[in-house]
Structure formats: C-alpha cells, structure tokens
C-alpha cells in the first residue's frame, strides 16, 4: 500500500471525530443524570466539560484543512474529510445545547416542581440519547442502514416535544396554576427544546454519513 503517512492521517482524523462524538455524548449523559437527580454539581460539570469539546473541534478542523491543502484527497477520502469537517459543527452544537440545559437548570434556585409526565419526558430523553449514540456509531462504522432511520426517529421526538409543550401550555392556561410553576414550565420547555435540537443534529450527522459512504446528499434539519 502506498501513502502510508496519508492513510495514518486519515485514521487519526476519524479517531478524533469519534473521540469528539464520545465527549459530546458524555455531556449529554451528564445532563440527563443531572436533570433526573437535580444534581447541580453535575450540571456545572457539563458546563466545564464543553471546553474539551470545543478544543477537539479546533483540532479536527485544523486536521481537515491540512489534509485538504497538503494531500489533495479525492473520492471516498475527500468525502470522509468533508463529512468530518461538517459533522464536528453538529457535535459542537450538541455540546453547547447540553451546556444550555445545564445553565437553565442552574438558573432555578430550587428543583423543578412541575408535574412533568415522567414517562413522556423520559421517553423523549431516551430517544434523543439513542439517536446521538447511534449517530456516532454510524460514522465509525459507515452504517448507512441505521443512518436512514434517523429521519423517522426524529419525527417521533418532534411529536413528543409538541405533546409536552401542549400539555404545559394547557397547564399555564389553567388559572389555578401557581405563578412559580409558570417559571418552571418555561424552563422545562426550554430544556426540551434543546433536546429536540440535539436530535436534529443527530439527523444531520446521519445525512452526512450517507454522503460519506454513498456520495448521496440529503437535506439537513
């Protein structure tokens, strides 16, 4: 095999993208646990952890540009680099959205007291988490079959999001809802909105993996 150094650089790039994916996944896992247990220390950890994701973003961008400038990649290699360059934006945003959720949690000086339907909220959280975890796997394994499922899975998440928001708005419309609960409801709506956006980024990653493996371009969310 020729171009040993170049092949190694491509492998290093992919390794770093996967590393960034796992780092974004950690942020998501921390914040999910923080929400469940109302752990403000863990929420602060999510905020601090975002710096690691941002650092990887810069390293990977630099690797991609260097490969483009110095190696003139073509075909499949070019698609790996182009996909990586775009995908890190989605991963970085996932980290930012986890951080936003943490900040929303910390703005409230007491636990959320609204009666969130735990089932619905949990269901949404698990679906979002599953999509992000799968999106990183699809990149690592070139798994286009799983990538193709993301759009319909995201539709389910969007439906859950709409249901939760609708339920809360009905609660707010009920004049017997205490004012402090209205503040809580607003925070939860922000939080699930960030989760819904995280799922959109997973869909984007799936689309980019399809392009990477098959050269097929689909619309992003």
């Amino acid at each position: 095999m020729v171009r040993i150094k170049y092949v190694k650089k491509l492998e290093d790039l992919k390794d770093n993208v996967e590393k960034m994916g796992h780092s974004a996944m950690r942020s998501l896992d921390y914040i999910i646990k923080a929400l469940k247990t109302n752990d403000t220390a863990l929420a602060k950890k999510v905020i601090a952890h975002d710096a690691e994701i941002d650092k990887l973003d810069k390293i990977i961008e630099s690797q991609c540009i260097s490969l483009l400038a110095l190696e003139q990649p073509m075909a499949g290699d070019l698609r790996v680099i182009a996909t990586s360059l775009k995908m890190i934006t989605d991963l970085e945003r996932i980290g930012d959205e986890a951080e936003d959720i943490a900040e929303e949690m910390l703005m409230m000086d007491r636990p959320i007291r609204v009666a969130i339907s735990e089932t619905t909220f949990d269901e949404m959280v698990q679906k979002v988490r599953g999509m992000v975890a799968d999106s990183i796997k699809t990149y690592a394994q070139g798994d286009v079959e799983t990538a193709r499922t993301f759009e319909s899975r995201d539709d389910e998440i969007d439906s859950l999001y709409k249901k939760i928001v609708s339920d809360f708005l009905n609660t707010v419309a009920d004049r017997s809802c205490p004012p402090e609960f209205v503040r809580d409801i607003a925070s939860v709506i922000y939080i699930i909105r960030y989760l819904e956006r995280i799922a959109d980024h997973a869909v984007n990653i799936g689309c980019r993996v399809l392009y990477m493996v098959e050269g097929e371009r689909l619309y992003m969310r």
Binding site: M1, V2, R3, Y6, Q72, P73, M74, A75, G76, D77, L78, R79, E214, G215
Partner: protein, 253 residues
Amino acid sequence: MDKNIKISVKDLSLYFGAFQALKHITIDIPEREVTALIGPSGCGKSTFVKTLNRMNDLVDGVKVTGEVNYNGMNLLDKNTDVVALRKEIGMVFQKPNPFPKSIYDNIAYGPRVHGVHDKKRLDEIVERSLKHAALWEEVSDRLHESALRLSGGQQQRLCIARLLAVEPDVLLMDEPCSALDPIATSKIEDLIWELRRDYTIIIVTHNMQQAARVSQSTAFFLLGEMIEYSPTTDLFERPKDPRTEGYVTGKFG
C-alpha cells in the same frame, strides 16, 4: 442535458504486434468541452489519443479494429486523408517542439503548407493565433527572433498557437504541462479553459488535480481498458468503480 458528440469511438482495439494495447474502448467525446484521460503509465491513454489523428499509423506492426466516427465518417477507414485529418485534429506533445525558425515562421508554416501565401493574410493569422494562445503580448515585438529563445512555457503556447493557425476542430494534448514549471502550467491551464469555448479538447495527464481543474469529463484507463467515464466532479468525488477509487486516492498507480 444532451450534448453534441464530436468524436464517437466504438469498440476500438489496437495491437502492437501481438500485444493488445487498447481493449474494446467505447466513448463519446462531447463537442467544445475538455475531456481528460487519466491512468497509470502504460495504461493506453496516449495510444488512444494518437489513434484519433492516426499518429499510430507511423508505428510498424500496428493493427486497429473498431470505429472512430468524426464528422460522419470513420477516420480509421483506409481512404481517410490523414494529412487533412491532422489539420482538423491537431496535437500538442509533452515536450514543446518549436521548429528551429522564427516565432513568426513557426506559426505561418502550417498555413503556408495549406496554400496561404498572401503576406497580409499570414500576418493576420500569426497575430490571431498568438493572441488566441495568450502569447501575443509577450512576443509581438520580436516575432522574427528564434522560437528557441522562448521559455518552456512560452514554447508550449507557441506550439498551441501553431496548431490554432490551421484552424483545427479538435485539440489533442498529450501531457502538455509535464515539462513546465507551476506558473507556466497555470498559464496553459487558463488557456485550455479559454480554448474550450471554441474547440473540443482531449487532454492526457498524469496530474489528477490538473484533470480535476481543467476538464468537464474524465475517463480512467487501466491496462488498455477504459474503466470509467464520468463528469469530472462525479469521477473524483464518488467514482463508481473501486479501481478508479483506488487510483484517484493514490492507493495504487
């Protein structure tokens, strides 16, 4: 969008004695576009290009089968006037080969051979050809100097101008920039981009980035076969054949 086809090659095979150098090539070359031929050394791309203007006739023991249809006739037919053909389908080679004459006489040579002797007409042809080859500005004040005093890049543009002077239809370029420095190469590539408006151009190149820069369509040759022929963007971004993928990513060749 359907394209007009300038040269239509059907099941072309070529043998040097017992050795089959080209194997059943079928390809349609679009009019007024640049088509690049890429592939490793010895794959047959130069041999293919030289078939298009019957330059391979000059090789002993060559045998060609199939068809190369151009302007409604098969130019492989034994009755083809190869002199007239080579005026229509001109060629530029890897190493610039100006005649040991003045710049003016290099350009005027072809028209003179084809019967143009009027001085005013020749002056017009020389100026037009040198302008068309983006060389006029650099040599207009020294047309009667020896062409051998020009730089490599200028000599290659002179060879292109010489070709243009006889008003060809198709330009064949066999690695026209291999012997040139990057700036001279860049000037030739800019020139190719301009010329494609008026001429059908086929360029053989070892430089994949050059093929990607200058061509609209690219054909990949390997061991005498044409493996893949696609719009250039498609061939370099998502080639269909794994052999093409392996070659353009530099994994072999």
